[in-house]
Amino acid sequence: MLKNMYNWIDERLDITPIWRDVADHEVPEHVNPAHHFSAFVYCFGGLTFFITVIQILSGMFLTMYYVPDIINAYGSVEYLQTQVAFGQIVRGMHHWGASLVIVMMFLHTLRVFFTGSYKAPREMNWVVGMLIFFVMIGLGLTGYLLPWDNKAYFATKVTLEIANSIPVLGPIMKELLQGGTIVGAETLTRFFAIHVFFLPAVLLTLLVGHFIMIRRQGISGPL
């Protein structure tokens, strides 16, 4: 049944090469931890992606309860964490996952740096990777405000003051992020929109680019 459905689609769209390419491409021995244990450093990129997937999923589920509004935001977070079954775990996944993504990405970056894998012809992929790094940092920053507790509020105030001290562009950036003259209702909705729609869209685009480039160029050779 499934096979017939697959064949029907494949006859028309010739989809076999697509997954075949992903499934059958060869992976060299020097990145395989089963051959050289030290090759586990090559896992960090994949783990970053895995945690990112968890982040996207848990974030989607969290928005089922969360409201980006200064009166209800805290209440909804508190409610989903303390009243909803498994709420503590799902919010925990998103909270600790955010830290874990940063850790994994940091280790991945260091691996790429110290193995010199960013060198020609892979310069573009390094730049895209760094952009992903900045987007992740941005996601961490905007997500921090959303529970609207004291820590979030004051940390965001400080961040915006830092933005403010950048010459010329700073004040404009601050006001743009803040959405007004104080950190308040408009800041929260802005940060929510950036955290949930804008940055993830950018992130996914960059990730696609990152992966296509890896497939095009292959893994860098052994040292």
Partner: protein
């Protein structure tokens, strides 16, 4: 994906083999690992999402509405306030009940939400239908016990009624128990 690899398998190798090939074993293990990872991630989230459905629905609280001595055989309208906990949001809903007693003195309270399309009915509101509940939207009307006479498919709902120290307490809304 694993389905596809199997198919790929069968096209390259003799179709009938009793032992499991290395590749098959790896594929099954990979499938198992995939299932574990997806399950581990998705299960808490799915349980989290379906929580409202699995919530224990507690018996609603009773609200003090009116002294029992004020109830006559003629239905009267009473409003009362109900505190609603809606997730993290606590609100007060104002509800209306038409309370009266039958010949035996049994007190019952009807909800004025028309069973046709949810408009609000009123007692004796239309001269054509005296001594009846009448709904202005589509002309549904009901007897004093809430029995539907036209348009509506069901009788008017009732509130659970409790008597305490000569006060009438109303609880949650239930389907009419007096008439069918």
């Amino acid at each position: 994906m694993s389905n596809q690899s199997d198919q790929h398998e069968s096209s390259n190798k003799p179709p009938i083999r009793k032992e499991m090939s290395r590749r098959q074993f790896l594929t099954y293990t990979l499938g198992g690992a995939t299932a574990f990872m997806m399950g581990g991630v998705a299960l808490p989230m799915v349980r989290f999402a379906v929580d409202p459905v699995l919530r224990q629905k507690g018996e609603g609280a009773y609200i003090k509405v009116v002294e029992a001595s004020k109830i006559t055989t003629e239905p009267q309208e009473f409003t009362f306030e109900l505190k609603q906990q809606d997730g993290w949001y606590l609100s007060t809903a104002t509800l209306t009940a038409w309370i009266s007693k039958d010949e035996k003195g049994k007190i019952y309270a009807l909800s004025p939400i028309c069973k046709h399309l949810g408009c609000t009915v009123g007692w004796n509101k239309n001269q054509e239908f005296p001594e009846q509940y009448f709904c202005p939207c589509h002309g549904a009307h009901y007897t004093k016990e809430g029995k539907q006479l036209a348009v509506a498919p069901k009788p008017l709902d009732e509130y659970r009624v409790k008597l305490e120290n000569d006060w009438i307490l109303l609880g949650e809304i239930i389907p009419n128990t007096i008439v069918k």
